[in-house]
Subunit: 143 residues, 4 copies
Amino acid sequence: MENNNQLLAKKVVDTMLEKDWFSQWLGIEIVELKPGYVKLKIKIKKEMLNGFQIVHGGIYYSIADSALAFASNSYGIKSVSVETSISHLVSCSEGEEIFAETEEIFSGNKIAVYTINILNKENKKVAVFKGTVYKTGKEWFPA
Amino acid sequence: MENNNQLLAKKVVDTMLEKDWFSQWLGIEIVELKPGYVKLKIKIKKEMLNGFQIVHGGIYYSIADSALAFASNSYGIKSVSVETSISHLVSCSEGEEIFAETEEIFSGNKIAVYTINILNKENKKVAVFKGTVYKTGKEWFPA
Amino acid sequence: MENNNQLLAKKVVDTMLEKDWFSQWLGIEIVELKPGYVKLKIKIKKEMLNGFQIVHGGIYYSIADSALAFASNSYGIKSVSVETSISHLVSCSEGEEIFAETEEIFSGNKIAVYTINILNKENKKVAVFKGTVYKTGKEWFPA
Amino acid sequence: MENNNQLLAKKVVDTMLEKDWFSQWLGIEIVELKPGYVKLKIKIKKEMLNGFQIVHGGIYYSIADSALAFASNSYGIKSVSVETSISHLVSCSEGEEIFAETEEIFSGNKIAVYTINILNKENKKVAVFKGTVYKTGKEWFPA
């Protein structure tokens, strides 16, 4: 049973990533994936910097938003983001690796809430994200 | 005087944009700029889509975050984002033009708050963003 | 038709308020009510102050949260709050009157988003609130 | 040294609570207090219920906002709330005890970020709160 859930999670996220051109541009790698959980990695490239030559806030948000989508859809039920927030704590530079790790705070019938930590290689929080999703109830792969 | 403020706003944002590689990747154009206000435009390209072939949430956030940075720095005093949130309302597709328009809700000694509407060509809100910045007090171009 | 919607809005909010002991403790008065819109008023009493002798942040939030509940339920369909945020801008003191006025930013099938301005008597924003609700689809007064 | 910090934290929070009429109305008890951390408790009374006879959202927010103020001021430096958000997860009823426990996510020179879990007696999250404060730099008790 657990194995089936794991296979379903992988199948969903592979399907999502296959045509997710922006996540591909970000260079997202999946470090770990379980039903309701994902840890992602990206490497900062020059095109991700803002005018201060540090990582643009949109990059942290984007990896977190992808992590929210993957984690919340990984049960095989389509979920859509309704509200998200992010606090920017520490700046990062070109060449650094950053990680987005999800934590499922709450999962109800219709709504689920995740916090996502954005971490640098030293495991320091560089940003914290909170996301609320609506569970549509539609299956990804109906039998 | 008003003219000087306008020139300063333009000088700050030009300087920020000049080396803002990510805003350049987004293809951000400045539609209108005044001290404390900016309206930006981008055109959705294929690399901005997620796995559902609609615009990735990170794109709306990124244009809003750039707008927040430009509007809040346009007075000539360096400001940094401390907290931001965004609600995703309506999906957009490849080829569409979307706009980010700021509204300064509050400006105190140390903190300012902006709401930013993300609009499509029909002026429909596709996302709403709120951002809080800390005013460092440091001038962009000290005399 | 419009008249029926107005009557339904009033019936819903009267029913909600009738046993809403906390809103009664707050002394909430309805200044104006329409389907999807409400303007509320309270007068600041001593028990609403924090240790700095200004209004406790929880009071602004509470009147906004009541306004969100009244506006989003006023169509006759039960809605529940899923995510809310508030920025505190200006402090208020004992004896002042403050107002909460809703604006419906978005209304979809399942999700609606409201911004609520908290205003003092001079119509100055003292706090800004954003709330997201889930529409359960259940009618308040089924035929 | 650690002892002095602990005494300072207690002195600050005692001073804040002494004239905090709203926290007193809420019946807030301090379960645990350390520099940068506090755990509070309240017991739900009838006046805290909304029209559905469950706890009004403003009550969860209010205990969290008090916890944010106590934890962020407990170092002896005045801090003020700039942005806060809360997600309502599980409803509570009259007579229940609920707790607010802070976690300091980030503490910089000017800005600090806290997450606060609102828990019931079974340690289940009933709401999650995030708060950002601005550190004014002013001491509570200058030498």
